[in-house]
């Protein structure tokens, strides 16, 4: 299909360049809803978007019993549709597993997927062919009191928003030495002089010297979450969690305490480069580093990830941005939070078979080598109202392709990430009681000693969650019969998170015969119970 499309475009350039070959919003929804037929799949909603679309959650679970749950989310930033396609693809990969293996995978754990947190964006973008981040709210991005007065504009009529270069003696950019359609910043420190000024394709309709700075695009949800929220920043919203999508996702996590680990397919990567412990930042009043113990877990999970994702090549470096979900999920929701863009441009040097290309060049080389139609455009002369006396050309990079390749390129990544999710699920905590030790001390007085062990590869919950009031903690409850009393110990006791392979021992002194029931655990690790006869 893709080949035909490319062919069609190449013989008939008048049709313009290819758009990303992603499914329409309607087709995407129906492909999600088709999964309902599977006996392990149920579909619900976590809320509505600003534009009134349902935000779906697909639950993959063996039975309705609450189990420690891995939550996968994608489609928060409208500029990352590849994440949406991949999480739906991943779901299909899991459902295509051997029935026995799938049943076994879901024995003690569940997988929930919110594939499209920002449905407004996908719906609008895929229709328009221009990929903007935000939801359907109309916002005054440049805070000048006018709404959407200066949208990006397709000046040359190729149905794409690319770049625009203006030839000028005050230029800041020069041609890339290897790729003629790409401009890079002139290196003043090496005495290089620029000959182009580079803009995004657009017109400055309100004469503020900015091009396309206030168009449709709403609030970028990945700037609207509560951790390190950037006030008065473009697309960040009026205040933290001002958007219904933001609230819906946060409520969903708070109201389902069994959500143990969160994986995001999004525009941050803390899997290829794990979170690190910074003692100073971890000890400030506003904590901004993973704790030492949590960073150890990050390192371990990252090592699994790097091994599994090796065939995808060197990942693009991506740091956390203020107000993003990935950070909020850890610092405020108290969950292990891992994020990856799932795909990045990668090429293997054909001569030496070693990866020598780095950074942006990797993208240029990938796009050219694979002849990705519509990713890098030749420069075309245009008449521009803001620059009547300059030579203006439109072309260069179509930004969306940097992390969103055509469909055909996502298959391998999806498979690899399905594999990773299974590994992660298996690493999640699990509790087992050791054999209880009961000592009769005479006169119907018994000492009950018992240990529970976390036999999983991850702690019960991140250390930071012990600080967070609304995360359910590790607890024990020892229920006595009517005529029994505690001589030592309490009915209910809370403990800090139990690390992987670690045990917690409990002891009670109980007067009176009969069976006592002891439960231990928390929603993220599962709760185990045992009857002890005295």
């Amino acid at each position: 299909m893709k080949k035909i499309f490319v062919l069609l475009c190449s013989i008939s350039p008048l049709l313009g360049f290819a758009q990303l070959d992603y499914p329409s919003y309607k087709d995407l929804l129906s492909s999600i809803h088709q999964l309902k037929g599977n006996k392990y799949v149920s579909i619900g909603t976590i809320g509505k978007s600003f534009g009134g679309e349902n935000i779906s959650v697909v639950k993959l679970e063996r039975d309705p019993n609450v189990k420690p749950t891995l939550l996968l989310v994608s489609g928060i930033d409208g500029k990352h549709p590849a994440g949406v396609i991949s999480s739906v693809g991943l779901l299909k990969e899991l459902l295509a597993m051997q029935p026995d293996s799938l049943a076994h995978l879901l024995d003690n754990k569940s997988i929930w997927i919110v594939p499209l947190v920002n449905p407004d964006a996908y719906k609008r973008n895929v229709e328009a062919g221009h990929w903007n981040s935000g939801n359907a709210r109309v916002v005054d991005n440049d805070r000048d009191g006018r709404m959407d007065e200066n949208p990006s504009m397709d000046i040359n009529g190729d149905a794409l928003i690319s770049q625009m270069r203006v030839k000028s003696i005050a230029g800041t950019h020069v041609m890339h030495p290897n790729y003629k359609n790409i401009l890079i910043e002139a290196d003043r420190s090496k005495g290089e002089k620029g000959n182009y000024v580079l803009f995004d394709e657009g017109i400055d309709t309100d004469f503020d010297d900015r091009y396309g700075e206030d168009g449709v695009g709403g609030v970028n949800l990945d700037r609207n979450f509560t951790f390190n929220y950037p006030a008065f920043y473009p697309e960040s919203g009026n205040y933290a969690a001002s958007e219904p999508e933001t609230k819906a996702l946060m409520n969903f996590v708070y109201e389902n305490p069994q959500i143990s680990t969160i994986v995001q397919f999004g525009l941050t990567n803390n899997l290829s480069e794990p979170e690190r412990f910074n003692e100073a930042k971890a000890n400030e009043r506003i904590v901004s580093s993973w704790t030492a113990k949590d960073a150890d877990v990050a390192k371990y999970i990252s090592s699994i990830y790097k091994k599994i994702s090796k065939p995808l090549g060197e990942p693009t470096k991506m740091e956390h941005k203020p107000g993003n979900f990935a950070n909020t999920a850890y610092y405020h929701l108290g969950k292990y939070s891992f994020s990856t863009p799932i795909w990045w441009p990668s090429v293997v040097d054909s001569v030496n078979n070693t990866k020598t290309t780095k950074g942006d060049d990797m993208f240029y080389q990938w796009a050219i080598q694979n002849n990705i139609d519509g990713a890098i455009l030749p420069w075309v002369n245009v008449k521009h109202p803001n620059f009547p006396n300059n030579e203006v050309e439109v072309g260069g990079i179509v930004d969306i392709y940097r992390l969103n390749p055509p469909l055909a390129y996502l298959g391998q990544s999806t498979k690899i990430h399905a594999d990773f999710i299974q590994h992660l699920l298996k690493a999640m905590p699990q509790l087992e009681f050791q054999k209880p030790e009961i000592t009769a001390l005479g006169a119907d007085v018994f000492r009950v000693e018992l240990a529970v062990t976390n036999v999983g590869l991850m702690p019960m919950y991140p250390e930071i969650a012990d600080k967070i009031k609304y995360v359910s903690k590790f607890k024990t409850i020892c229920e006595l019969q009517k005529d029994q009393v505690f001589l030592n110990g309490k009915r209910l006791q809370l403990y800090p998170s139990l690390g992987a392979g670690k045990s917690q021992t409990f002891s009670w002194l109980i007067k009176g015969k009969g069976t006592v029931t002891i439960i231990a655990g928390c929603p993220t690790s599962g709760i185990v119970n045992i009857d002890v006869k005295l």
């Binding site: 805070r143 000048d144 009191g145 009026n238 205040y239 708070y254 967070i468 609304y470 009915r491 209910l492």
Partner: protein
Amino acid sequence: MKLINILFVAVCTVSILSVANAQNNNDAIDIPGLRAVGSPANPKVPMNWNRYHDNKQIEQFCKDLQKAYPSLVKYESIGKSFEGRDIFVLSISDFNNGISDRKPGMWIDGNIHANELQGSEIAMYTAWYLAENYHQVPFIKELLQEKIFYIAPTINPDSRDYFIYEPNTMHSSRTGRRPFDNDGDGLIAEDLYDDLDADGHIVMMRRKSKTGRYKADPENANRMILVKPGEKGEYELLGFEGIDNDGDGLVNEDITGTYDPNRDWGWNWQPNYVQNGALYYPGTLPETMAVKNFFFKHTNIAGAQSYHNYGGMILRGPGAAQDDKYYSRKDIQVYDAIGQTGAKMLPGYDYIVIHKDLYTVFGGEIDFFALGRGIYTFSNELMTTYKLFNEKANGGLRQSDEYYEFDKLLLFGDAYVPWKEFDHPQFGKIEIGGAKKNYTRNHPGFLLLEDAHRNAAFTIYHAHHMPKLEITSIETKVLAGNLTEIVATVWNSRIIPTHSDHDVKNKVNRPDYIRIEGADVIVGMRVLDKDFNSTVEQKYKPDQIEVPSIDGMSEVRVKWIVKGSPKNVKIVVDSEKGGLVEKAI
């Protein structure tokens, strides 16, 4: 006729008759000898300002005031609380004069912390005072012609009634009624206060103990005092009345709502482990969301006051030291001008900064108004020990014995539950007693009226100094080539600018527009210095010049060059917080 009137006024205090009387006279003008200056002698809505009101009574008050003054008072519900109660806002303005929601607006709310009752009464008093004095005090008339007050007596109605009608301490029910699991044990609100002796008061528990560090004050049996080092005590204190309901060895550890609605706002919000009392995210509560939405709908709000108790403070932001950078010298000058006057109007109240002089607050309402919306905001901590004997307490806020003495001398013991014995299921023989929930933080009745007026007067002063824009001159000059130059000067005659400095820097609200209508504009510009002809041209829409702010006690100038010499030209000043004024040439 006049005689009959006098007779009516003298004899009748029944409101229906007073209303009839006022209507007969067109306006209610008090008999000078009966009017205690500053207060209506014969209000259309008679109120006792020496008591507290529940939600039903607050709603009745809103209804009565609107009915008595339909052209000055409107009330509406701006949303529902968690338990489904209405959150009422009274709009007070001269509705026959101008577009009310375009006038500079003064927001007043009370009772965000539900145990802090009196904020509601003081807010209600303000609405009542403005309406009842509109016809009698020219200053108030002019104020309501130019400005609008939005007054929310309680923005926490659920918990207000809970505080009033259910067992509480003076500190409890600060919160709302949404239940949460406060101790992380997966159970919700499983260990509440217990009114052990069923007297409607949650007071203290004490137990005779050889190792106790407290003794009863020989001067005042209600008072427990810490013994000196080396001295033997008689009692240990066991906290507020309650039992361990869930068997975890803790008493009252999971009461309803230990969250704080004043940590649920959208500026520098931090989670619970950084800022105690915070919830899931700013706006977890329907009550705070209702107010936030009201502010985004009413961008004319230029001043705000949020009442709390206690301690006698006129607070300004920021709540956290890291936000100090958002308070420029220029903005602080405005705050100082109003705050320092307030300190004079409110004896015993100090004008101070939240994070420096009180404690750090992240995600507070004040910061959301001041920094999130660029509104000059104060928060008064009502009631101070100064009011007891009109002198500064010696020993500090919580150590002072003046409350005990005040109760003895002026309240005759009404403020305390005397100690009595009780058999506690976990503690054994104990005694229960102490200050009633409406003592120490909430005003005693006879002090309430005075403080209501002083605080209302302070908000009126604050409101008066919200921007007042006037087009002071429009000069025209015929230029060569059939062109005319038009220069308009706009002056703000009050202290508060149309945009705080913080607002200008961060573009919180749109710029002010100064527009020319009825002329064919060729170019338009701001005049920075008229004497030296320093101007800045505006290329985009030159007929509507955008001005970042019109500062307090300052003027701005704009200039247009238009074609020909147009007749019927109108200049319009359109400012979100400064209002809408126009003038024809």
